[in-house]
Symmetry: C2
């Protein structure tokens, strides 16, 4: 496996066709995609292209947002956005809100980001990252006449351990969860731990290359693996009843 970073994209703005922009950038660097390549894209540019950057001055907080703002010390307009983007608030305290987003991700601030946006603006996560991945995949496959996988990722904190890792918010053309049930170990016993979160591991691989300032290298090509398949990023989500730590 090896990775090809793609940096120096133009600043992405609402309405941009990301597939086309990535294709142009690749060709300008004489990088040609081949079948089996996995194109990993940070959600940061997907959100921008999809117009998910909000001017906080347009947001009128509800009473609930003011209340949660009082608990957390966060801007009530930001809290209002977090509430709109969440199904459920799981934890809140001094300067933090952990929630279950409308898309099923558990993270801080509903994934809303104020880095790399203009002052008084906030960037929401893409509405449907699987669909965003499919859109990019279709365009790149047509431009390069190949079969690809595409993953939309974010860098996310987690319980128990410091530091963020990459998580797959959306994917297309790959199997997010590799099922090893039925495989045998070296003593021919069936393996018990049977699922590897391939899409999240690939997201963490790209996360190393992107770093936290993912707008500088917003796209990483991962080449030399064979994880073509079907599935969506929500295959990775545990339901509440399956989860011991909610």
């Amino acid at each position: 496996m090896f990775t090809i970073p793609l940096g120096n994209l133009p600043l992405i703005k609402k309405g941009d066709n990301l597939g086309k922009i990535i294709s142009t950038a690749l060709k300008s660097k004489q990088i040609y995609l081949t079948s089996g390549d996995i194109v990993v894209v940070t959600e940061k540019i997907v959100s921008k292209a999809e117009g998910r950057v909000i001017n906080l001055k347009t947001i009128l907080p509800t009473n609930m947002a003011y209340e949660l703002s009082g608990i957390t010390g966060k801007d009530p307009r930001l809290v209002e956005l977090i509430l709109r983007e969440s199904q459920e608030i799981l934890r809140a305290g001094n300067n933090f809100i952990i929630s279950l987003t409308n898309q099923g991700l558990i993270c801080a601030n509903a994934g809303i980001d104020q880095s790399n946006v203009k002052p008084h603006h906030a960037k929401l996560l893409p509405i449907n990252s699987d669909k965003s991945a499919l859109n990019i995949k279709c365009i790149l496959e047509k431009k390069f006449r190949v079969d690809l996988g595409v993953i939309i990722i974010d860098s996310v904190g987690r319980p128990f351990r410091h530091g963020s890792v990459g998580l797959a918010l959306g994917c297309s053309g790959i199997t997010p969860l590799l099922d090893l049930r039925g495989e045998k170990d070296i003593y021919r016993n069936e393996l018990l731990v049977t699922q590897v979160a391939i899409a999240d591991c690939l997201a963490s691989t790209a996360n190393i290359i992107m770093g936290e300032a993912a707008e500088k290298i917003p796209v990483v090509i991962i080449r030399g693996l064979n994880y073509k398949g079907e599935g969506q990023a929500s295959d990775l989500l545990r339901s509440k009843t399956e989860d011991l730590f909610r």
Copy 2:
């Protein structure tokens, strides 16, 4: 960045010198380590070399182990080992025990594994994976006359999401947590999410190559990054008071 898998090692047994075995295997394949390479090793072979495979017939369960065996349906001798390897049991139920291990990892069964060991045996995690990483590093650095990073990893489940990802149990010669405080975004604002769990992201990268049957490819070389530094895997552990999900 690219990865070089190293498979077909001899079966590892107690007392084996892993650094020497890895070095011999690399040289026999004409793979020469270069400075900056990160050598990722599955804990499965580290534990075996360190004699951490236990014959369950030698284990006498305590009353507490019998009690927890009643709750979980697990073999009381295995439960006894889990208790010995744990500081604290966090969750237990039908066929599962989640604990905080003596080393500070939160995972199922205290990381005790019955795959790839003889019947009626169980394999514990290494006692001190940072030290194991340092030992392997010293031997490989001397053999190849280079500066290396070494990470000992396991494939571990997690809250909220299905599938296992790679986690760093021990490391030497690399910075496990990349601190970006003070770095600026493209609008020159300081970044807020400031730490990337590089060692865990590298562990997940190797996890893709190793798969769950990590004894077939127990070592992966990651080349082309620059994460030389100091630190230990425990830098990645949140203390209980810093953790919202315990």
